[in-house]
Amino acid sequence: MKAMQNTDHNMNTRVALVCVVAGVWLLPDYFGPAEAGHYEEQNDTQSQNELVWGGDAEGGSPFVEADPNDPTRVVGFEVEVAGLLAEGLGRVPRFLQAGFTSLDAAAARGDFDVGLSGIEDSPARQSRLAVTIPYYQFREVLTVRDADAATYRTLSDLRGRRVATLGATLAYDLLVSAQSKFDVQPVVYEDDVHPYTDLLLGRVDAVLLDYVLAERGVRRNPGLVNQPTDVGTGYYVGITASGNTALRDRMNAILLQAMKDGRLEAIFRRWKMWNDDQPRLYAKLLSGEKTSESTEQPSAAPVSGWDAAVRYLPALGRAAVVTLVLSCLSMALAVAAGVLIASGRVYGPPPVRTLLTAWVELIRGTPLLLQLFVLYFGLAVVVDLPAFVAALLGLGLNYAAYESEIYRGALEAVPAGQLDAARTLGLSERQTLVLVRGPQAFRFALAPMTNDFVALLKDSSLVSVITVVELTKETSIFAANIGSWLLPGAMCAAMYLALSLPLARLARRLERGWKR
């Protein structure tokens, strides 16, 4: 699953940024001349004099983001924390880009020495990774529209309402527990920008995220306000592979030293994140007291994979139904629109043909993911489509372009003799299409259509980027929860196969039936 930690401005820069493979950069002046790293392809052999740290540059300011003045460099408080750790270890920091939701898995694999990206402390992380002491304490904050400030003060005020958050976060866990307690409907986003823009548009009624993100969301979206109620407390930590406790312990010592000598304070002050919570946290840690793990952490101690599988089975089943319904409806739309496009391209006057050809090439030549973004987020100011409708339209219209090519080819594959016979019997062009050419073309088209439907079934997983929770998304939530992809992956694969294999069989039977 791709993490789409999009910031609002300049998507092109982001795309270009991900493409950049290497680019040497220096830390800002105030941090001295030490090299903090640059984008590089994944490198398994981590040199002893480098500290490779993983983060998601799409997380944006103030965590890690591309330097607006030089997109080959990253800036953010995490960059400076990484520099601080590297300096203490006598190493040179090097940044490695990793998707936010796959940071845990990458840390466990040892892709980087330490992950730093606004990563929250949680019992699940403690149980399967070596986690540093916390270096920042945050509060979960409820953000609402100005007009609702008096109505929606806490989660309990949001009964039956849609509340947005980021997947695989403490806020998400809080929302899931609020779902059973207050019947709140969690809406999962893959980035921390669109929850706030969608709140303004009325697609959701509140956003629950940590204070740092909430502050940024309110700053960028006039008309929103953060509620003073404290919904929960959490900590940012660094993560390393579970066997890497020696490095973790050394980093803990460096962090404690930086809390004592004020270097951490300086970093957070520079990023305007310093508040009264931090000195209290640091004092507690320096006195040797352990912080309790994130407060109001609703998920209990981690359970075994099998127990979790049984617990998640109904949710996966529901998600599979979403996948199936979405795929069937999208395919129906793709078939209907595909037939119209193909008919227009075969029978239409030249301008119509040109227009339709251009449309087909536009849709086929651009990524489905981009189309979904444009449809749901880009057009939101013009038409406010519900997520499921946007997913249906995006998938359906995208596949319609491919279907239309299949039908056009199939129409043209019907022998001319069949059309001559229809004409001499007095059938009109329309009757010929409906009674003779269409049905025959459909038989040519059936095998490639089945292929497309199976492909659509799997492509439907992309709609999770516009908040529709389908099978793959539910699986990734499951995987994040138990910290392994093995069992969730196998269950998810089995469900996709259970959906697609009967389709292939049905198609074969239809084809045989026609041949008789």
Binding site: P415, A421, G426, L427, P439
Partner: protein, 226 residues
């Protein structure tokens, strides 16, 4: 009285004239055969009369419906033309996705707007007349060449044409079946239907033609009254 009149007909394919300066007429109930080697232009004449290919010059008149040089007939002319002309193709061109019976009743229902039951009963009668009533529910790919051809004839006759065009009707028949076909065609002509047949099978032509036109290189060489 002529059902079909062809005057100075010219048909071109690209820059090449495949039919040039042909004139002839076919009367009601008459059976006329165009003979000639492959490539002599027989099929082109038939396709022009059936309104499938445009004509370059001259004119065709099918029982008062005119076909003029330019594009193939459309609109009202097209509708009127196919009330009068039926065609049986060399390779039959039965609709592959429909049963033999459905092939026959399709056009009467959708073009003549006959009730389906009526059209279906009439279609079965026609297939029985052709001696293949038992094969009514077979799919085209299950039929032999002779059976397919008789379904194709029944399909054309179901529309009640005054002129039936047939392209190389004996191409897919063994000798015994050729005699059967000649008998069917004689019955048709006896019923008042005019026949124009393109063939290069002399023996068959002798058995069923009232008149023979011989074509070579796109022109009629001689007309023989049978």
């Amino acid at each position: 009285m002529a059902v079909l009149e062809v005057a100075d007909l010219e048909v071109t394919r690209g820059a090449r004239a495949v039919v040039q300066g042909i004139s002839f007429a076919v009367d009601r109930g008459e059976s006329v055969t165009i003979m000639g080697a492959s490539g002599s232009g027989k099929t082109s004449v038939l396709r022009a009369i059936a309104g499938l290919d445009p004509i370059a010059a001259g004119g065709i008149d099918v029982d008062g419906v005119p076909i003029r040089p330019g594009r193939t007939p459309g609109g009202q002319v097209r509708r009127e033309l196919y009330r009068r002309v039926g065609m049986v193709f060399q390779f039959h061109h039965l609709f592959e996705h429909l049963t033999a019976l459905h092939n026959v009743w399709l056009a009467p229902v959708h073009v003549l707007h006959q009730p389906r039951k009526v059209a279906e009963r009439r279609a079965l009668e026609l297939l029985e007349q052709m001696g293949i009533g038992a094969r009514a529910h077979a799919m085209p790919h299950e039929l032999s060449g002779g059976e397919a051809q008789r379904v194709a004839i029944a399909r054309a006759l179901a529309m009640g044409p005054q002129l039936l065009l047939m392209d190389e009707p004996t191409a897919s028949l063994d000798p015994a079946r050729r005699g059967d076909l000649a008998a069917i065609l004689r019955t048709l002509a006896g019923g008042g239907c005019a026949l124009l047949i393109a063939s290069h099978d002399e023996e068959f032509v002798r058995g069923c033609a009232d008149r023979v036109l011989t074509m070579a290189e796109g022109r009629i060489h001689r007309g023989v009254t049978g």
